[in-house]
């Protein structure tokens, strides 16, 4: 930038697309690394329960075939014993891949429990290693793990917003989007990166737009609280009223303060299963158990629809009578179009409905998103290198910083994730806060990679970190062989695709990283991009 007078004159002359390029670059660079983290950990989340299984190999087979009535009896007994005065009991039944074992939590007037996974036959927690599992890994993509919600929500919210802006401006910049999609000029340094970045963005553009907008919706109330506050006030009471207005089915009452025993759930379960089919009750939500105004809400499994808003049945908790049938939220008979749209977007985001093939498509789309963010960051450094080469003087501090951060984040984060799996199998079982240390291992490994990238020349650190990643992922099946009975020899023979799938996928990642490392190590092309002389030669 030279002189404010000049720039003031030049302002109107700037083209729209040029402005959009500036915005795209700025939005992408400002939050590109956070977006890469969100994309990658979120992508792992499409196999969250499979990762859960691998990280607790001692657990029994999924309990999805047990009769719902038996499981509910066991869980109710535990809730009655543990939280008789709770305002709400919430039971998740083992129904399919998403919930292999029953879970419950309760909310009381003064305290509440976290969600507990238990054995359907005993109601007690399983004796298994302490781990955060795939759930913790997937939750990182919006909780950022070490940050409090008050901080992670706005960070992730604005990162998602920048993503939306980057997507829209990206489409504007590349108005010849379909021609660009079929353009790939490999081996030409900057152009190849440009083409790769564009293709990665375009090929999964519908996925990127969907995942970004629905991500905003998921954070909607914390990101834009004033829309709710403008009509319901800022106190918790008003907020509760809004949630009741917007989400609860009709027929719910405040507690009467008169005790009445909870009606047996057996007949209600029978009614629900007659409607939906056996084993298709997902949640049982009991409001004010033991009160005359108790209500029991049954939620249908979401496995046969994209939307998360399936049919609900509302029973009188004292008499056991069916009071109300709430139709699925995304149908014409539902009473709220906004809730229908929201449930549909959230269903698309979470992909809980997805059968295996579609689940893999989600996974690859997520990887494409991660690669899009990564290639954009790399592209910025390559363009900047070329500009630096044309001008006098060395590369600026900003360029050096971004180059080093790129290697440490793009290659370093996957290594951190692999370290999370290694820690799961190698940490002593009786270690205090074992689950916490698994995560510390992930971030310590990542930190080591960031330091490594800061110390080595970028071209070298990429190759070296890819080599480390190749070992870290490729050897996981071997680690599984030595630390569990569910190794490939066993899982393939038994057709256990949860374990076999995990091992084969990590093996695939290991091979891919090995290929990338080998290519970077041998071919001087990549190193050339970082050499000012060749970059200049290319531009002449």
């Amino acid at each position: 930038m030279k002189g404010t007078e000049n720039s003031q004159v030049a302002v109107p002359a700037l083209g729209f697309r040029q402005s959009m390029t500036g915005l795209h670059t700025w939005a992408g660079l400002a939050l590109g690394w956070v977006l890469y983290f969100i994309f990658l950990t979120g992508t792992a989340g499409y196999f969250d329960t499979e990762i859960d299984r691998w990280m607790q190999p001692e657990l029994p087979a999924p309990q999805i075939d047990l009769p719902a009535a038996d499981t509910v009896t066991v869980l109710l007994a535990r809730l009655q014993r543990e939280a008789p005065a709770a305002e709400r009991w919430f039971i998740t039944l083992p129904a399919d891949r998403n919930t292999p074992y029953p879970q419950f939590f309760w909310q009381g007037a003064s305290s509440s429990s976290s969600r507990l996974t238990v054995d359907a036959t005993s109601g007690e927690a399983f004796t298994a290693r302490d781990t955060g599992g795939g759930q913790l890994l997937y939750q990182m993509h919006w909780r950022l793990h070490y940050l409090p919600r008050s901080l992670s929500n706005p960070v992730v919210g604005f990162a998602t917003l920048f993503m939306l802006v980057a997507l829209i401006t990206g489409v504007i910049i590349h108005k010849k989007i379909f021609r660009d999609f079929f353009t790939f000029r490999p081996g030409k340094g900057r152009r190849a990166w440009q083409d790769a970045h564009t293709a990665l963005g375009v090929v999964a553009l519908p996925f990127h737009l969907m995942i970004t907008y629905s991500g905003l919706i998921l954070l909607g109330f914390s990101l834009m609280p004033l829309v709710v506050a403008a009509y319901y006030g800022t106190d918790p009471k008003g907020r509760q009223q809004f949630i009741a207005d917007a989400f609860d089915p009709p027929g719910l009452l405040e507690p009467a303060g008169v005790a009445a025993p909870l009606a047996p759930l057996g007949p209600m379960i029978a009614t629900a299963e007659r409607r939906w089919g056996e084993g298709r009750i997902l949640f049982i939500d009991i409001r004010h158990p033991g009160d005359r105004n108790a209500r029991v809400l049954f939620h249908e499994n979401t496995d046969d629809s994209v939307s998360t808003g399936r049919e609900q049945l509302v029973f009188d908790g004292a008499s056991g009578a069916l009071l109300h049938t709430q139709p699925p939220s995304a149908t014409a008979t539902a009473n709220s179009a906004a809730k229908g749209a929201r449930d549909l977007l959230i269903g698309l985001h979470e992909g809980l409905f997805a059968p295996p093939l579609l689940r893999w498509l989600y996974f690859f789309s997520g990887l494409l998103g991660s690669a899009m963010a990564a290639s954009g960051l790399v592209l910025w450094t390559i363009k900047r290198r070329q500009q630096t080469a044309r001008r006098a003087g060395g590369p600026g501090a900003g360029l050096l910083l971004v180059e080093r951060l790129n290697a440490g984040v793009v290659a370093g984060l996957p290594i951190g994730i692999a370290a999370y799996f290694w820690a799961n199998r190698l940490l002593p079982l009786d270690l205090a806060d074992r689950a916490g240390w698994e995560v510390h291992a992930m971030f310590l490994a990542w930190l080591a990679m960031l330091i490594h990238a800061a110390l080595r020349p970028p071209a070298r650190s990429w190759a070296e970190q890819f080599a480390i990643a190749a070992g870290a992922f490729g050897l996981l099946p071997l680690l599984n062989l030595f630390t569990s009975d569910s190794h490939l020899g066993q899982s393939l023979a038994a057709g256990d695709w949860t374990f076999a799938g995990f091992d084969l996928t990590t093996l695939g990642f290991g091979l891919a990283f090995a290929w990338a490392a080998r290519r970077l190590w041998q071919a001087p092309e990549t190193a050339r991009q970082y050499s000012p002389r060749t970059a200049m030669g290319e531009s002449l």
Binding site: N6, T25, A230, F242, D245, A246, A341
Partner: protein, 92 residues
């Protein structure tokens, strides 16, 4: 000419903060406009506010005039929020 330093910051501020104001105000306006129960209208306002945010950010960068962007965004936000609340009878 590139967007760097103070020029970038001068545009980023109205894009982020002014865009936020416009998104929230659009949400509030939509709640007032929609002839559906309040809970559902608030949900709809929240759903669509983010689209307005993205549009506002892009508009600020296309305009490239920080002061004008601030003025127009804040004026539009004020009008939208006030008329939304008026339509639901919250201001009277």
């Amino acid at each position: 000419m590139e967007l760097t330093g103070w020029r970038l910051l001068a545009l980023a501020a109205p894009a982020l903060l002014g865009g936020y104001a416009l998104a929230t105000a659009s949400g509030i306006f939509l709640v007032g406009l929609l002839p559906v129960p309040l809970g559902e209208a608030v949900l709809a306002g929240n759903l669509l506010g983010f689209a307005c945010y993205a549009v506002a950010v892009i508009w600020v960068f296309a305009l490239r005039r920080p002061v004008r962007a601030w003025l127009q965004l804040l004026l539009a936000s004020g009008i939208l929020a006030a008329s939304g609340l008026l339509l639901r009878g919250q201001l009277l």
